[in-house]
Structures are given as structure tokens and as C-alpha cells.
């Protein structure tokens, strides 16, 4: 390969729009997962469509658009991509999952407190004493609003109490 063609290649590579590329790959991935999981469903005919008809057609279309987006990514040229920050995503994700586990075991008050405390780790400007007060206030508010006020059938107290 000559020196010239190599530089052109890397320039073109640098010139790809990351946003479209990422979305295109996501479309392809989702389409692939779906296609892989609908193979056992009957496709049917246009008159008597089987359960597999719609998901299969949609998956192929989505895959097509995925390819088209990748094409656009190449054609459009480079575009600024936003960075991903791990800390807020981890903290918020953990807070949500803890809420899911907590509601089965700890009851609404304790769960809300835990979720708020973990969620508080997401912001860089959090002050821990504020977060603790917030956690207790939100826990009490949720208990009063949803269990006492609206009478929703939610677990109120931890299982072990």
C-alpha cells in the first residue's frame, strides 16, 4: 500500500460520524437479537399472517436502516461525540436496581432511604448531610402519600420486623 492511500484511508476513518455509526450498530444488534429469537415462530402468508410475520419484517427493515445509518455515518463525515460519564450512570442504575430488590424485602420507607442515599452518589456536588436528611424526608413522604394516603398495597415494613 502506498503512503498516499494510507493517509486517505485514515482520514476517511477519522471522518466517520460516530453518532450515526453507534446508532446504526445498535439497530443492527437489536435486529439480530430479534431475528435470532423469532425463527421458531410461523411466518404465515399475507392473508394469514403468523406471529413471526411482523417481527421478522420489522427486524429486516431495522437492519436495513442500521446499514443505511452506517452509510450516512461514512458520508456525513466527522461529528463531535459526547463523552459518557460513568459515575452518574452507575449510581442512578444502582439506585433503581436497589429499589427493585428493596421493595420485596425492606418495605417502602427503608427502600426509599436506600435508593436516595445511593442516588446521592451520582452528583459531584452532593453534601452528605443533605442527602441523609433528604432520604429520611422522602422515605416518610412516600410512606404517608402512598401507603397511608392512597392506600396502595405496598410492603410498608421490612420482612424481618
Amino acid at each position: 500500500m502506498t503512503q498516499a492511500s494510507e493517509t486517505r484511508l485514515s482520514a476517511r476513518w477519522r471522518g466517520i460520524s460516530g453518532n450515526d455509526l453507534a446508532a446504526g450498530l445498535l439497530c443492527l444488534a437489536i435486529a439480530a437479537i430479534a431475528l435470532f429469537n423469532v425463527t421458531n415462530l410461523r411466518f404465515g402468508t399475507v392473508m394469514r399472517m403468523g406471529p413471526g410475520f411482523t417481527p421478522t419484517v420489522l427486524s429486516w427493515l431495522l437492519a436495513g436502516f442500521g446499514v443505511a445509518l452506517i452509510g450516512v455515518a461514512v458520508a456525513r463525515g466527522s461529528e463531535q461525540m459526547e463523552a459518557w460519564k460513568i459515575r452518574p450512570m452507575l449510581a442512578i442504575g444502582a439506585a433503581i436496581l436497589l429499589f427493585s430488590i428493596g421493595m420485596q424485602q425492606l418495605g417502602l420507607f427503608a427502600t426509599t432511604v436506600v435508593t436516595t442515599l445511593v442516588g446521592g452518589l451520582a452528583a459531584t456536588d452532593s453534601r452528605w448531610h443533605e442527602v441523609v436528611i433528604m432520604a429520611l424526608v422522602l422515605g416518610a413522604a412516600c410512606h404517608l402519600l402512598f401507603i397511608v394516603g392512597l392506600g396502595m398495597p405496598l410492603r410498608a415494613m421490612p420482612v424481618f420486623l
Partner: protein, 499 residues
Amino acid sequence: MEFFDHLALGAEVALQPHNLFFCLIGALVGTLIGVLPGIGPVATLSILLPLTFHLEPTSALIMLAGIYYGAQYGGSTTAILVNLPGEASSVITCIDGYEMAKQGRAGAALAIAALGSLFAGIVATILLMLFAPPLASIALQFGPAEYFSLMLLGLATAIVLSQGSLLRAFAMVLMGLLLGTIGTDATTGAQRLTFGMIELSDGIDFVPVAVGLFAIPEIIRNLEFPEARSVVNTKITSILPTREDLARSWKAVLRGTGIGSLLGILPGSGALISSFAAYVAEKRFSKTPDRFGKGAIEGVAAPEAANNASAQMSFVPLLTLGIPGSATLAVMAGAMTMQGIRPGPEVMTTRPDLFWGLIVSMFVGNLMLVIINLPLIGIWVSMLKVPYRLLYLVILVMCCVGVFTVNSSPFDLVLLCIFSLLGIGLRKWKFEMAPLILAFILGPLIEEHLRRAMLISNGDPSVFVTRPISLVFLVLIVALIGAVALPQIRKRRDEAVAE
């Protein structure tokens, strides 16, 4: 005149002190649950239903109806304040409503939403009184072919309203449609894309998807860019809409009311489609379509009027045909059955007091809603002054509780995490969520009606163009897409020529 006889009969029932009281309770509870995302009207009605068991049927229905349209009304509050659509029909309100809030104009947005809803509610109730039976016969004209084309038109509006390229909007629509196929196939009962999980056999609920795509990515974004959130916190201008706001909004409210009243008659997704359609209509009619998506007040006024009008009109199929148009109305139908009244055409003749009393209570209820809500606006807006490092914790907890209480399902929170991740990614890559979510909701309905239409026509696809109502919708779709696609194609061609 018959109209005034009915009005008098209804007023006699609705204005009795105890019925006024239940109407007020309904409006209050409706507002409360509308503001709390996820705690949708279905869940609340289900909880309150047993309490109405021992009430007189008319009072019970007046209260439940108040909750229903009150929730529809309150749903816009969190959409505007924190980008959290509590219900499908407030998805569209997020776009310009939240943008207005970021510019410090949350008060104006909330006030216009309230006033627009009041106007729409009253007009729709008058239409309901005058034309309920003939309107019901319009709904009967809609067979599978007509519904299919209408829903497709709904999807087309999603593509039209997006700001970016058509390609991206189509990709989002397809993703939403595919997600909508998860669950038990309505036509054959087959399990599709459930990955062997029983939790997925009813499909994915709207709430984890909406909260995951809208609210959580917004929290993450504000935490990642502390400088962006300062906009939300500072410089809240006037709480009331300006003269200019009102001048811009009144036509939008009128058009929204018209669209909502028409589409609300149809059982199914009337409220949702009408809010999207009203938004798109505004954007098309506007001399300055560029303002949409950047805090245009018409973008709040029109869809809010439309969804309240259609909430009111959706009582037409329930009361005249006995067909509940939505899950919420199905609970209302249940409430009637529990009282020993079968919802259907005979209600109007056998229980005129109940029928007209309920309808007149809607005037009262809508008025109460505005009286309750206008003073609240100041409180909501001042909540935005809470420092974001504390506010986001409140929003986070609201999201979790809201998603959990839909089905009391821990699994829904796992779904929330997955959709949050999807939402964060799509947002970073500059994709829009509204087309995805509309497609997600309409997808299963489109498929159902398509398959039904093909079975009835014995596989002949010409039904969609030979049936006039269906043809009209299809023509509208082509016109809408064409109006967006042509300039984009022309632009691209010009660019190519220039190169």
C-alpha cells in the same frame, strides 16, 4: 329544546351537594395522581373502586370520572416541569413544555395547559351532550381497515414532528415497533420475543419505557453538565402567560379541541394520536415552524387541548356502545357493572339521571380543576428553585415508585434500567425519543388491525384504498411525509450539484 331539558336534568343531579363533593374529591385525587408519574389513573381507580362500592352509582361515577379527566389534566405538570411524561398523551407536551421550563417559562406553560384543557373540556362536553348518539355511529364506521390507516397516520405524525433527518426518525419508529411486538401475540396467542420470561408475556408496560427514555436520561444529563442545569434553576420569569403567549395560543387551542373531539370518539388510542396530530398540525400551520421544539407555546396549548377534549369524548363509545376505549375507561365500565348497571346504549334511556348527571358533572369538574390547578402553578414553579442536587433525588424516587406501582413488579425496574441506558445512548447520539415511543404504543394496534383487515378481506390489500375513510388517511400520510421528504431530498440534490 331537548338540549336544555337534558342540561336541567343533569344539573339537578350534578349540583346536589353530595355530588359536588364527590366531583371535588375526584378532581383533587385526579390532579394528585396526574402529577405523580406512573401512579396512573388505572391504578388509582382500581384502588378507589372498592370504596365506591357502597356509594350511590351516580356519585360513584361522578367521582371516578373526575379522577379520570383530572389525571389527564395533571399529567402535563411533570411533563413540563421535569420532562417526565406520566401518561402516553403527555409525551408530546414534554417537547416544548420542558423546553419552556428550561427557559424559565414553566408558569406560562402550565397556565396555558390548564386554560386550554378547560376550554377543550367544556367544548367537548357540549358536543357530547348534543351529538353523543350520532357520534357513536361514526365510531361504528371504523372497521379494521380504517383503524389501520388512522394508526399509520399517527406514526406518520411522529416522523413529521422530528427535527432531524427522516432516516433517523424512521429508524426510531422501527425500533419502537419492534419493541412493541414483545409479548403474547394477540391474534394467535404465541409468545414472541419473551425470552422465556413470564414477566414479558403481557408485553412491556409504557411507564418504564417512557420514564427510561425521558426522565432518567434528563437526570443523567443534568448531572453530567452542571452548567446546563443552571438554566432550569434560575431566572423564572412571570408565572402567568404574556399577552403574546395568549395571542399565539388561542387558535392552537381551538384546533387542538377540534382534533381531540374528533379522534376521541374512536376507542383505542384517540387521546394519544390526537395530541400528536394537534402538535403536527400546529407546526404545519405555523409561519415560524422553527420555533417548535425550542419552547413554542402552541406546542403545549394544542396537544393539551386535544388530549383533554378526547378524554371527554371517549365517554361516547362507553356510554352509547358500552365499549370502553382504554384501560382506564374499562375500570369505569367495571364500576358501572359493579353497581348493577350495564354500560351500553340503554343507559341513556333507563338511567337518564345518571347519564346526564355524569355529563353535567364534567362541566363542574373541569371548572374545579382549573380552580385547583391555577394556584398550584406557583407552588410547582417554586419547586424548580430547589437546588438540583436535591431535586434530582426527588425525581429519581418518583420515577422508581411510579414504575414499581404500575404492576407491583420488581422486574419493571430492571426494564427501567435497560431503557434508561437506551435513552442515554440515543440522546448522546442525538436521536429523538417521541417517534420511538409513539411507534411502541401504536405498533401492536397497527399489527392487530392489519392482520384483522387482511383476514376479513381474504388477503386483498385493496381494502385500504377502496374504503373511503381509510383512503383519506392514506392520502394524508403521503402528503405529510412528502412535505417533509421533498425539501430534504432537494437540499441533498442541491448539495450534490454544488459539489
